[in-house]
């Protein structure tokens, strides 16, 4: 079930043939958004992650989130997935049927991707989700939110979560520890990661770092920065056999969270996505029809004229 840009164009073409002025055609040109000037993000390298979940714990502490008890033992915070109580989660992928040791396994860390053209922001009718113009962090304002959950429908990565069991629910999602960034710090998950698997930094630098890693020779030792890309700290690790793709560099217009892995991304729950965002498409169509409300107003004027005339004739 992959959707490709091609598909859409074919569809638009088909429509063009079927009916000259199909609204679909207008959406064909889409605009790619640029990275905000001081965009920051996270590079998560699955091959460096040891699955210790220190980042999950640090996230809960930094954001005052409650523990999530799942499974037989009632003592541990043990979230299985993102939820209204968990902004950041580590999941483990094991090869089907195979023994972990023989065939390997991989961890994956999930939280908001801080999209460059975020669907949630475009969807939200009340501007409760906003993308910071400077650092690009997508944050939430509960005083604006009406709880319609369109952001959940729209987010291609299923990130925003809703407090289903509260009479006064809020949307919950990672906001890249904005409160820590404001004080000059970095996100708690990266600050606490012992291996550098979660690495904080300016997106441009993270992209260069990711490209550097893809050029590494598997099995050789290299330096890997820890916590933040410009922290000055680093550790030596053997380079893994990377999948030659930086997930998040292009997907749906790109994201500020980037992923590297040794296992195909779709197996880690990161779907194959086209490069044009659905936002651009939907915006294109809405824009073509409602640009400055010109068409609706003209049509309304026409309707008023026709109907008034006919009524008068009748009288």
């Amino acid at each position: 079930m992959k959707l490709k840009r091609r598909d859409f164009l074919k569809g638009a073409l088909a429509g063009g043939l079927l009916c000259g002025a199909a609204p679909g055609v207008a959406g064909a040109e889409s605009v790619r958004k640029d990275l905000p000037p001081k965009a920051v993000g996270i590079l998560y390298d699955s091959t460096l992650c040891i699955g210790c979940k220190v980042c999950v714990h640090a996230c809960k502490q930094a954001n005052n989130m409650p523990a999530e008890v799942q499974g037989p033992e009632p003592y541990w915070d043990n979230p299985l997935d993102l939820s209204a109580k968990t902004l950041n989660v580590i999941k483990r992928y094991g090869f089907e049927g195979g023994k972990d040791a023989a065939e390997g396994f991989a961890f994956i860390k999930r939280h908001c991707m801080h999209c460059i053209d975020p669907a949630c922001v475009s969807a939200c009718p009340a501007s409760a989700l906003l993308k910071n113009q400077e650092n690009g962090v997508v944050s939430y304002n509960k005083d604006a939110c009406i709880g319609c959950r369109y952001c959940q429908i729209a987010c291609p990565y299923n990130i925003p979560k809703f407090e289903w069991d509260s009479p006064f629910p809020e949307i919950v999602k990672c906001q890249l520890c904005s409160h820590l960034l404001a004080k000059g710090g970095i996100s708690a998950c990266c600050a606490s990661c012992p291996t550098g698997a979660s690495l904080f930094g300016p997106v441009q630098k993270l992209r260069e770092e990711a490209a550097r890693r893809l050029r590494m020779k598997p099995g050789e030792y290299y330096d890997f920065p820890v916590a933040a890309i410009d922290s000055g700290e680093s550790q030596q690790h053997r380079a893994a056999a990377y999948v030659q793709h930086v997930y998040g560099e292009r997907e749906l217009g790109g994201t500020q969270v980037l992923y590297l892995a040794g296992v195909a991304f779709d197996k880690l729950g990161l779907p194959d996505l086209p490069e044009d965002s659905y936002v651009a498409l939907a915006d294109g169509i809405q824009y073509a029809i409602y640009k400055g409300m010109v068409y609706p107003i003209v049509v309304l004027g026409g309707l008023i004229y026709i109907i008034k005339n006919r009524q008068e004739k009748k009288e």
């Binding site: 959707l3 598909d7 939820s83 939200c124 009406i146 709880g147 169509i285 026709i306």
Partner: protein, 381 residues
């Protein structure tokens, strides 16, 4: 103007109490929802954040309530005054349908107490399709009440007010044609954003066009269905002369719709999915077969003059069109993380309650307000 009059028969009948009881059960669960949160009464979850309250009450419900829109389109825009006896009952069902859709949105949204936020200029997001839909539907509900107001004013004998309203009513009629055109297509645009989470059998750039056509077609079907049904229930003569002519429009609309619908899936290379078995594929087939069946019946003028076939085809249209919309919002949607959704009993009862409230209001209104056309002679039941 054709004369209208209340049926004047007894309101508190057995069916009335039956529907009122269901509405009360719904109300009980609504209370629970407001005290304990949405999760306490519904099976919606983070994978399926929208359930039947949106997919049925709003997306299907407002289409069923497009009777007023569809009739206004021919009566006022295409100037076919002969259909005007159908206007008032159609307007009334639209008014209930939309009003109750608006009410169920309040049950559905989490932070209802600040729902007005979207209309505060500093919060409004003009880029949001949802904003456009909310604004249009909100205004349209007001417009429908204004359009229907003459019936109420007639009843309370406020002749002066009625005359005043009649002088400006053309503005509301015009809005009543424009607004549904906008938001019914936008209900389709809304699911564009779901992207890869919506099956390619439904996800297409044509969503707005397909949603608009289904709204109009469902609107006509609702007029036919409602007119035939109320004739039988209230023992009034069938309005066949009007209905069979109105139904002549439908095959054209349907033919165009099915052509776009199928050809779009085909050209995008996903038609084989339709025959792959499974719930999604079968629902896709069912949805289109129902519409095709209606098309085949109504294509023959003789069938259009046959009340039974007309009734059956309007039923197929209502089901097929509604199914298309329902599928787009629920069946075709798959967030891809193992989430499942099936509505819970309380959740269903809230929806049943809303339908029941509609029936109750309908029964009261037609019996007490001048809605249905006055019958010639003493045929009053």
């Amino acid at each position: 103007m054709h004369a209208k009059e209340p049926l004047g028969t007894k309101v508190l009948t057995k069916p009335f109490f039956f529907w009122a009881a269901i509405a009360l059960i719904g109300l009980f669960f609504v209370g629970k929802r407001f005290v304990y949160g949405i999760g306490a009464v519904s099976n919606m979850n983070d994978g399926f954040p929208w359930g039947i309250w949106i997919a049925y009450d709003v997306v299907v419900g407002t289409a069923l309530a497009c009777a007023g829109y569809s009739i206004a389109l021919i009566v006022y825009v295409f100037n076919r005054g002969e259909y005007s006896p159908l206007v008032r009952p159609a307007l009334m069902t639209s008014m209930f349908g939309y009003t109750l859709a608006g009410v169920s949105v309040i049950f559905d949204i989490g932070r209802y107490w600040q729902a007005y936020n979207i209309f505060l200029p500093w919060f409004s997001n003009l880029h949001s399709v949802m904003f456009e839909v909310a604004l249009c539907i909100g205004t349209y509900i007001l417009v429908l009440w204004m359009e229907f107001a003459p019936a109420i004013l007639e009843k309370v004998k406020a002749e002066r007010l009625k005359a005043k309203l009649n002088r400006v009513i053309f503005v509301f009629i015009a809005l009543g044609v424009l607004l549904p055109t906008m938001h019914q297509s936008s209900l389709g645009t809304m699911m564009l954003m779901a992207g890869h989470k919506l099956s390619p059998l439904w996800w297409t750039a044509f969503l707005p066009l397909l949603f608009l056509i289904t709204a109009v077609v469902i609107g006509y079907a609702a007029v036919i269905f409602e007119s035939l049904l109320s004739s039988v229930v209230f023992k009034r003569p069938l309005e066949m002369h009007l209905l069979s002519r109105i139904s002549a429009i439908i095959p054209w609309l349907l033919g165009f719709y099915l052509l776009v619908r199928i050809e779009d899936v085909n050209l995008r290379g996903h038609l084989s999915l339709a025959f792959s078995g499974g719930l999604k594929a079968n629902m896709f087939l069912l949805e289109n077969l129902l519409l095709l069946a209606a098309l085949l019946i109504l294509a023959y003028p003789n069938n259009r003059r046959n009340p039974r076939l007309l009734f059956l085809s309007s039923l197929a249209l209502l089901l097929g069109g509604s199914l298309y919309r329902f599928n787009t919002y629920i069946i075709g949607f798959d967030p891809g993380t193992g989430w499942r959704y099936f509505p819970s009993v309380p959740e269903l009862f809230i929806t049943f309650g809303i339908v029941a409230a509609e029936v109750v209001a309908y029964l009261w209104f037609v019996k007490r307000l001048p809605v249905l056309p006055r019958l010639e002679g003493p045929a009053k039941a």
